[in-house]
Symmetry: C2
Subunit: 204 residues, 2 copies
DNA sequence: AATCAATTAAATCATTTGGTTAAACCATAT
DNA sequence: ATATGGTTTAACCAAATGATTTAATTGATT
């Protein structure tokens, strides 16, 4: 039992370390030695648990990708109100991004440099699009919002949330002259800004 | 003279090849051999023109970064109409992105993995923010648009334009079941969508 | 006490890669 | 013709890196 326990702890330790390193540096930039150090173990044990760098990477990438979709899916209620969805989604999504600011860059970079991966992990990239679409169209019929393409609306929301996180170092430099507190506050303000911006744009 | 001419041609050949490879694969992912192949020359000549990989990379990164800011700056006329700015900017920006779909990922990835670079190239990341801000605020005073933070508005526009390009492989999979034509059309539609979406959101 | 899995340290291997060098080739300008 | 500079070919070096192996240690289970 303690064996199993220790095993699980070490395995989790490795996964956490791998997550940290992979997400910051990507598959190519990550070093097995660095992951071992971060986990407080040595390289041999790393290969004892996960035979290869790629196998370890797959675990991390899979969860990161699925996690981003989960956040969206959890906000969708097909019978619900679009504005309620927007508030929940933006709040939930921005909070997730604040805690994991490097995940979007990680995912985009891996997928852009190896588009095959999207097929390899297509089962993890599952969006409840039918439910989302149904909700938007119902709200349109009920005249709660203007007629709009659900696809475009979703991309609008995602873009407005993700971009400032992706471009944070640039924004910090250009808008706030390297003043991190300014950028921090800007990201904090965004939650309310995006919500009211979307409401205004959708209002019939 | 012909010497000079040949020299310039080869140098430009190298720069174009380097641009292609670096933008697709990043600094770490790019291989000097691959750049040489792409340019139709050999490694030795590559180092004859640019002593090191880093020097060559700097040329490319510098231009890519400056180029993205240029597109924004060119649309700004401090006395102008916000809606005219939006139309020009979205049109111009999306066209640039269509021709250079890998540049945003390239820039974001390099800056996120090496934030120091933003200081090294800070002179290339020059946004005419005062001019832009003046334009937005004037339009607000004239009651042409609602009161809005110029900073947030700019990030909104950028996010809506850049995100679909960054996430194109995912969008193609999730929305269009790997049907490239669908994604192509979606990106084409976006121009009008973003413009009318912004107009609606800003209308007093 | 014997057993077995987890763990470490250290050495080693094969491969990749950025960078260098040397010798030769070739077109052109002087 | 000859000197010059761009260009090629090929070999080579040193460092980094993913992966493997071996021998030894620890610690709990039986």
């Amino acid at each position: 039992m303690d064996k199993e326990n220790t095993k699980r702890t070490t395995e989790q330790l490795i996964l956490e370390a791998a997550r940290t390193v992979f997400i910051r540096k990507g598959l190519e930039g990550a070093r097995m030695q660095e992951i071992a150090n971060e986990a407080g173990i040595n390289k041999a044990l790393l290969h004892y648990y996960f035979r290869s760098k790629e196998k370890l990477f797959n675990h991390i990438f899979e969860k990161a990708l699925a996690g981003m979709f989960d956040v969206i899916n959890e906000s969708i209620h097909k019978e619900g109100d679009v504005f309620a969805f927007i508030e929940t989604f933006v709040d939930h999504y921005l909070s997730t991004l604040k805690e994991n600011p490097f995940i979007p860059n990680f995912i985009f970079n891996e997928i852009n440099s190896h588009p095959e991966r999207i097929h390899q992990f297509s089962d993890k990239a599952r969006l409840n699009f039918p439910g989302y679409k149904q909700m938007v169209e119902k709200n349109i019929k009920q005249n709660k919002i203007i007629a709009i393409s659900p696809e475009h609306l979703l991309i609008d929301m995602l873009g407005m949330c993700v971009f400032p996180v992706l471009g944070r170092p640039i924004i910090e430099k250009v808008f706030f002259e390297d003043h991190p507190a300014g950028a921090e506050n800007f990201l904090y303000e965004r939650k309310q800004h995006i919500i009211s911006f979307l409401k205004k744009a959708l209002q019939p």
